[in-house]
Symmetry: C2
Subunit: 193 residues, 2 copies
């Protein structure tokens, strides 16, 4: 019997290293060549594994994208969580400045990557996923704003995220000087109403 021998399933330790290598390679390919350069052969080659191996760990191309999106989101959310702790006792303007500086630093590291991941996230429709509200970026921000007495904190959190993202995306290629200050001005203006 055992007609169907329960395919796939590498699991465990080795897989973690290979998967990480693949995801890092995917990030590099996207950053260097954009969406059009993102193909499984290129990713596998840059990761130093064969395409066969890549397909042992990921069911398909989109799964690699999705995993990368989740990884980057988790990274940023972890940074955000510690930053929020550190600013818990600061007055609002200083707290906002710290958070904005964090976002700027995060986007500056790989200017093109975040933009592409954002587009792809929409295409794949995996917006709500890890979404324990407390772990999402907007979720954390919502709680922060609510704690500061901001009205409609959920909407405000979304708006601020979009505002910051938009200003960073655009300005990185044009006028990065003093960017944090400029963003803080807009964000505080929004919050003061």
């Amino acid at each position: 019997m055992n007609a169907i021998t329960l395919r796939k399933r590498p699991s465990q330790q080795r897989s973690a290293a290979t998967m990480a290598a693949v995801l890092e390679a995917a990030a590099q390919v996207l950053e260097a060549g954009g969406l059009s350069a993102f193909n499984t052969n290129a990713v596998a080659a840059r990761a130093g594994v064969s395409i066969g191996s890549l397909y042992q760990y990921f069911p398909g191309k989109d799964a690699v994208m999705a995993a990368l999106i989740r990884l980057e989101a988790a990274r940023f959310e972890a940074e955000l969580a510690t930053a929020l702790e550190a600013t818990a006792s600061l007055p609002l303007p200083q707290a906002v400045e710290r958070l904005v500086a964090l976002a700027v630093a995060s986007q500056t590291a790989r200017p093109n990557l975040a933009r592409i991941l954002d587009l792809e996230e929409r295409r794949l429709g995996l917006e709500i996923e890890v979404t324990q509200r407390s772990q999402t970026t907007v979720g954390q921000l919502t709680q922060f704003l609510a704690g500061r007495g901001v009205r409609d904190p959920q909407i405000a959190a979304g708006d601020l995220q979009n505002l910051v993202r938009g200003m960073i995306d655009g300005a990185l290629h044009a006028e990065p000087n003093d960017l944090t200050r400029r963003i803080v001005r807009a964000a505080m203006g929004y919050l003061r109403g």
Copy 2:
């Protein structure tokens, strides 16, 4: 003689209609299926012309994209120009509200298109093109802001454009209610410093 018979060159009247059909088809394909659905066969089919014809009017796929980007940019810049005239005598907050409302309306019509065109514009690197400063979106905005006594009007124009674009992009899929009001709040906050 005339060994090479001076290839291509359809020009004149008919071309305008065909080119317009191709560009409108390209916009529809992008809006409906995203970047991955954007291929020359699909565009030609939707436009109701053969691929042969498409390639008579456009030297390649990217040229179609570029033409579409320029067309949409020109459309928006024309709308912006008339809106700026109409708001010339209004106080700043009302003027800003009108302009923001225009941007919101423009993006709402085809929510996905602008985002994609923006990404592609960067990939093709055709930022400065039509760029008679007075015809660009930022150029027009810069003059407007300068006339209102805003400091660093060029930087402010860029920032505002990015801020508005970011907030619209993000909010269209989440909380479109009262969007204009919220954006105006951020924009005016930025301008008041």
